[in-house]
């Protein structure tokens, strides 16, 4: 008891000058529960990130090399000159904009909005299906959408039934197929965030706008969207970060192919580091991906700043 009281007094007083040894001990004891988590994080998360920064500047290979040597920025120069890397960057952009910004975000908002007007059974059914797609393991989702888009799959069966031309989707439009798959898998998250946000809009506001004669589009544009703009920001940020690191879904559906036409950055990184054994180069790509992620995280952190 005395220790706790003394510690509390110490924390409150914040006297200038060096604290007494007893106080330091109390403080150390008090913060000691942080130790296991911090050690684990340092060893397995901060460590690898630091190591990532290190080997990105070397020519480490998977096999047949005794020691790696420091090559400076060569990996990065190589990356920016490498058409395959630029292809991966473009595909990652397309994949992210299509599936996360346009797909998950818009569909999630639309679903959340429609759910406020729909009847209860329809709302429950749709919600359950969308969430089910989200909860399924990534690899199962990849496999399911592979069969959906495959040449002999359900999508073509539907198109034939409608007398529309069938296509080999995974071959002709692989990015579109994996983007759609990511929408199928990830929309639930946006739906949940937006339904929570919409529920917080006071009804009087919408109602009075309605009385004033504002139509649906104007209400959406001038009232709803501005009132949930913080949720939109958060959601876009988290969706984008999520989408940037999608690997299993694409791997199960196309393995980055045909050729490299659905090879986003994570798949490209894996390909270079393991199939081509260029660990140094693969890590340089990983570092760039990590930097983009860190940038988004920092922006997200700014948005969240007041909440902590």
């Amino acid at each position: 008891m005395t220790g706790a009281v003394a510690g509390k007094a110490a924390a409150r007083a914040r006297t200038p000058g060096a604290p007494s040894p007893g106080r330091v001990l109390t403080r150390l004891l008090r913060w000691s529960p942080l130790a296991p988590a911090t050690v684990l994080l340092l060893l397995f998360l901060v460590g690898p990130i630091g190591y990532c920064v290190f080997i990105a500047f070397t020519d480490t290979q998977l096999t047949g090399q005794e020691s790696a040597s420091f090559v400076g920025l060569a990996n990065f120069r190589h990356a920016f000159g490498d058409p395959a890397f630029r292809n991966a960057v473009v595909l990652t952009l397309v994949f992210t904009v299509l599936s996360s910004v346009l797909g998950q975000n818009t569909l999630g908002l639309a679903l959340a909005g429609l759910m406020r007007r729909a009847s209860r059974p329809v709302r429950s059914l749709t919600g359950a299906l969308v969430i089910c797609a989200w909860v399924l393991p990534e690899i199962v989702a990849g496999f399911l959408l592979y069969t959906f888009f495959e040449r002999r799959g359900t999508l073509n069966a539907l198109l034939e039934w409608l007398h529309l031309p069938a296509q080999n989707w995974l071959f002709t439009l692989p990015v579109l197929a994996v983007s759609f798959a990511n929408v199928w898998r990830g929309t639930a998250f946006s739906m949940l965030i937006y339904s929570a946000a919409l529920a917080e809009i006071p009804q009087e506001v919408t109602e009075s706008a309605e009385v004033d004669g504002a139509g649906g589009v104007r209400r959406l544009w001038h009232i709803t969207l501005p009132m949930i703009r913080r949720s939109i920001g958060t959601n876009l940020m988290l969706n984008t970060l999520q989408t940037l690191s999608v690997f299993g879904l694409i791997w199960a559906m196309t393995r980055g192919g045909p050729g490299n036409r659905s090879q986003t950055l994570p798949v490209f990184m894996y390909d270079q580091a393991f199939l081509k054994s260029l660990i140094g180069y693969g890590t340089a790509v990983a570092l760039l991906l990590l930097l983009v992620g860190a940038l988004f995280s920092a922006v997200y952190l700014r948005l969240m700043r007041e909440e902590v």
């Binding site: 008891m1 706790a4 004891l29 529960p33 942080l34 130790a35 296991p36 988590a37 911090t38 684990l40 994080l41 397995f44 998360l45 690898p48 080997i55 679903l111 429609l114 406020r116 007007r117 729909a118 009847s119 329809v122 709302r123 429950s124 749709t126 919600g127 359950a128 299906l129 089910c132 797609a133 393991p137 690899i139 199962v140 399911l144 069969t147 002999r152 359900t154 998250f189 949940l192 965030i193 339904s195 929570a196 946000a197 988290l238 970060l241 690191s245 690997f247 994570p266 894996y270 660990i279 890590t283 990983a286 990590l290 992620g293 988004f296 995280s297 920092a298 948005l303 969240m304 909440e307």
Partner: protein, 289 residues
């Protein structure tokens, strides 16, 4: 309560009563989306009961559980599921333990470095962990952790830890401080207070953190895919690729049956925590915007 409604967070199914003018249009729109989302799921269920399953949705001519009995062997199902359980279960225990300990001082005491620490945690919650897998692989080769289940579990635990700490801290903030001050007066030490007073009071919160952590790990493909090599150690998320191995002739029925067996635990666990996830903090913990 029907199961479908239980799957949904409160904000979804308890929508306000409103003018019904637009209800048919809204219903139609939602149903169209529902059909699009349902097709792959319907295929999964139907083909698991069809011994001659193809890539298309079709009713099985003679539905039978043969696919399930075919995959329920040690090699195909039980060993990978046991591996998943060992890896994810162990990692979840470690994560929850470390997160509970770490959340305690972060939630209870103020200090110059608690805020930077929390911001760093929140920051790392968002980092694309996929990107560090190549250096993690290289690192694991050097320290001989490669192809070990405990090594994989340790990394999974660390990767999930930032979010677990963040969630746990938010739940712990909800426990009033008065109660532990009473315990202190009675002469309890901080481990006793944490174990006997705080954690029991936030029991449901701890359960949410544990279940959520477990679900995330159970579905994780890339980490075990990179860090485990020998077939007898692979968890279900990676062993599922064995079905693709047998050139050309994928047994879709068996693959579906296995997918269902592999997905069931996470679906059940999600249903257990979904109400709580949707209620207080709309998942994300960090997602308050």
């Amino acid at each position: 309560m029907p199961p479908s409604r239980r799957l949904l967070p409160r904000t979804l199914w308890r929508a306000p009563r409103r003018g019904n003018r637009h209800r048919p249009a809204a219903d139609a729109g939602l149903l169209a989306v529902a059909v699009a989302f349902a097709i792959p799921l319907v295929w999964l269920v139907l083909s698991s009961l069809d011994t001659e399953a193809t890539l298309r949705v079709r009713l099985p001519t003679s539905p039978s559980p043969d696919n399930f009995s075919a995959v329920l062997t040690d090699e195909i199902t039980f060993t990978p599921m046991l591996n998943s359980l060992l890896i994810c279960g162990g990692a979840t225990l470690l994560t929850v333990l470390c997160a509970a300990l770490a959340a305690y001082p972060l939630s209870r005491f103020r200090s110059r470095f608690s805020r930077p620490y929390l911001l760093t945690i929140l920051f790392s919650t968002c980092l694309p962990i996929t990107a560090v897998m190549v250096p993690v692989y290289a690192l694991f080769v050097q320290v001989n952790l490669i192809d070990t289940r405990y090594g994989t579990a340790l990394f999974l635990a660390a990767a999930q830890l930032p979010f677990a700490i963040w969630l746990m801290k938010n739940f712990m903030d909800g426990v009033p401080k008065v109660l532990e001050e009473a315990a202190w007066t009675d002469g309890a030490s901080w481990p006793q207070t944490l174990l006997r007073v705080i954690l029991p009071l936030m029991g449901p919160g701890v359960a949410v953190v544990a279940i959520y952590t477990f679900i995330m790990m159970w579905g994780n493909f890339f980490v075990p895919f990179m860090l485990l090599l020998s077939p007898e150690q692979l968890p279900a998320s990676v062993s599922i690729f064995n079905f693709f191995g047998n050139y050309g002739a994928i047994a879709f029925g068996e693959l579906s049956a296995f997918s269902i067996l592999y997905s069931t635990p996470v679906l059940v666990l999600y249903i257990l925590i979904s109400r709580r996830l949707g209620g207080g903090f709309a998942l994300g913990g960090a997602v308050k915007g």
